[in-house]
Symmetry: C2
Amino acid sequence: MISKNKLKEFSKYKTSKFCDEDNVFVVEGTKIAAEALQSEFEIVAICALESWFVEYRTLIRKKVSPENTFEVTTAELERISTLKTPNQVWMLIKRQSNNEAFQSETNLTIVLDKIQDPGNLGTIIRTCDWFGIRNIVCSPDTVSCYNSKVVQASMGGIFRTNINYTPLLPFLDSCTNNNTPIYGALLDGENIYNTQLPASNAVLVIGNESKGISDEVIAKITNRLTIPNIGRSCESLNASVANGIICYEFARLNNK
Amino acid sequence: MISKNKLKEFSKYKTSKFCDEDNVFVVEGTKIAAEALQSEFEIVAICALESWFVEYRTLIRKKVSPENTFEVTTAELERISTLKTPNQVWMLIKRQSNNEAFQSETNLTIVLDKIQDPGNLGTIIRTCDWFGIRNIVCSPDTVSCYNSKVVQASMGGIFRTNINYTPLLPFLDSCTNNNTPIYGALLDGENIYNTQLPASNAVLVIGNESKGISDEVIAKITNRLTIPNIGRSCESLNASVANGIICYEFARLNNK
């Protein structure tokens, strides 16, 4: 059972403004909710159908106190959900400034320069998660990683990556000072098929969907990489596909 | 100038039903419109702002007769557009059954088993275009390649690929009869980093976003490929990222 007041309170989190203010984010659907239950993140509240509570009883008991769980009807779930067809469960989760909380399986850090499409950011997080890349640095004008579409597209990757928003130029300067090579996906770089990538620390910059990497950031890149345009056709690859291919090539070093 | 009747006629193409009936599709925005002007596809009608017509005058004159071009105002463009913010130009284009119209730069054919997300299909077409893969075979329950989101996400790739919708089992049987190896992206296949891919004809099957490749299609696969899950974390890669990585690995053979 859930009171009208609680329903009203939770409904406001459809708006990112209130999520930002309260330092929380929403996840919806059985798959990602199960990942949240197994994550280190603090769950503030759960609204779900009775059947869902029955299925996940044991995991819930370990992690969330009963006064923060609310059994709802399908109609009530529709009222707080941002999905067209809500899927059994809605969760409110505390944001976590995950500074180095996770241990990377690789030495690669991904740097995103103004990624704007939530699907792309979510897919990049998912890909990093797959390849064991735990550190992602975003320019302040990259879409929020707590955007609901980003969270959904990350397929749980949001719970297993350190995502920091910070001005890129000082961050890249600190990399240069540490002799960390800065790779960038550009159209006029070295052919990636012929490039020997380093096993030591490295940074990879992925640029904006339509404008690519900004000029100031390009100036910091030490190693320009290009995925050859065999078809000599479209102007570029999708940002999350380019990221996937280069992460895959770096992960080759970790392949056993 | 455009008449009220014409505006009304064009407005109906917001609905895919009418596009299907008339065997046409819509493209919107300056970038993809410029690609359409340079493609082999027949342009049925153009509605655009005056400034756009001025910019592309020469290309338009070569390809579209004046009675099929309509100068519109921003308000009129909004009426026929499906975009939140229409971008200068709207075009109606004849569908083309592009059977083998384009020459592949590679010997790879992509087979899609029930790809449902328009963004994924568009990105897969864009990636194929990049790597010079011209042949894509889709199961009948794959999202239509003429869906406006697919067309936009393909970034012009729709004009440079042969996309056929056909039942997959007979198609794959014909591949087997021709001794064409059928690769599939699966979770339990051979590690792609250690696999020697063929330079001769090959087929790559990419499965549905949540269910993967269907059992009947899996039964036809001769070479199971896996991109290793270095992070031991999320369940799978995004379909268009997995496609991108494997296409990239096949394209290595064409790298000069």
